[in-house]
Amino acid sequence: MNKVVSNAQEAINNIQSGATIMLGGFGLNGIPENCIAALVEKGITNLTCISNNAGVDDFGLGLLLQKKQIKKMISSYVGENAEFERQLLQGELEVDLIPQGTLATRIQMAAMGIPAFYTPAGYGTEVAVGKEVRNFNGKPYLMELALHADFAIVKAWKGDTMGNLAFRKTTRNFSTSMAKAGNITIAEVEELVQPGDINPDDVHVAGIYVHRIFQGSHYEKRIEKRTVRMI
């Protein structure tokens, strides 16, 4: 069993143009910085990216947008990003906007082998157009489908060589569900440790879900809105 690769280039080596990729993170929080840089460098195009947000102009998925590598974004909230807006208005970019909880849960359901489920979110709105509506206990729900991807790319705090991952603070966000949902899952970690170094009770993503893992480097961890108090 060898899941450890040496770097981001090797980890993403077999991702081709046209692939569907889930990328963990919320805003710029907990994004796979090394793999995004490697995807930019590799220059593959026509990507469908599933990510809650689309980064900012010069960081995160914004870097892939700048190079016009993304064909379609599947997100819940976008537009902290002028280039994104330009491409969207020019018709160069497709966007599929999904309620955040529905997005998170569709990914989770893919991870759980559940093809469809019912949620009340979006009932009666334009999100419901074309979807099956069904009543349970007198309340209407929409049927939503599991959301799968060829690849999931996530960034964790610690990971061991068997692929077990542990996250820090709010960086879990979409990353844990995506890591479990990807057909192939790539994890970059701040610290690659040995089996046994993560307490089995505290593993957030079990190694079974992770196919390739490496210790990333030069994490910038840019803060989108640095808010501080005086005392």
Partner: protein, 218 residues
């Protein structure tokens, strides 16, 4: 005189009760956290994965790995719990959040809310708003009574694309506190010095005015 955004937040804070789990939206709702009465404990949820969100950090406490749903750096209170987005929306969907405070562009007299999209403008997305309004047990809208053009935001029916149906329970604006009832907006309180006639003139939806409307006390 009409309330400012801080006044609206202070009035909303009076809705808080000890032990409540509360989700605050971006904008005015966020300010509510500053006015929690000292005598009670309220736990704030942030839908990116926090229960027990604390105040903004000091410069020394800033941690890039810890942000709220508005992408601002925050802190945790003692006894906080962290989780992923799927779990966060699971607890929202299951109705575990006692109170949700949201901004809105429009509210209709039956409690529909529109707060995510303006046709013709760049659409940024609904984020978690549709999930919150579809499942929250108790939704308070915090907003200005009128839009920047002076037009009422309390309408017979929403004109903008809606976020959710029949979900708002109460609206707290710069001018008034109103409840959604089967018969329309029920005026419960008015800002000090604001006349009922002014509120009537700025409320396009059906408004029910009891004989005596007390002033908002903040």
């Amino acid at each position: 005189m009409a309330l400012d955004k801080y006044g609206i937040a202070k009035r909303i804070a009076q809705e808080l009760q000890d032990g409540m789990y509360v989700n605050l939206g971006i904008g005015i709702p966020t300010l509510v956290a500053n006015y929690v009465p000292q005598s009670i404990t309220v736990i704030f949820q942030s839908e990116n994965g926090i229960l027990g969100m604390g105040p903004y950090p000091t410069e020394a406490e800033v941690d890039a790995d810890l942000i709220n749903a508005g992408k601002e750096t925050v802190t945790l209170i003692k006894g906080a719990a962290l989780f992923d987005s799927a779990e966060s929306f699971a607890m929202i969907r299951a109705g575990k959040i006692d109170l949700t405070v949201l901004g809105a562009m429009e509210v209709s007299e039956n409690g529909d809310i529109a707060n995510w999209k303006i046709p013709g403008k760049m659409v940024k997305g609904m984020g978690g708003a549709m999930d919150l309004v579809a499942s929250a047990k108790n939704i308070i809208v915090a907003m200005m009574h009128t839009n920047p053009k002076g037009e009422s935001k309390l309408l017979p029916v929403c004109t903008l694309p809606i976020t959710g149906l029949c979900c708002v329970k109460k609206i707290i604006t710069d001018l008034a506190v109103l409840e959604i009832t089967a018969d329309g907006f029920l005026l419960k309180e008015k800002a000090p010095g604001v006349s009922v006639d002014e509120i009537k003139s700025k409320t396009l939806g059906k408004l029910i005015c009891p004989p005596n409307v007390p002033d908002i006390q903040i």
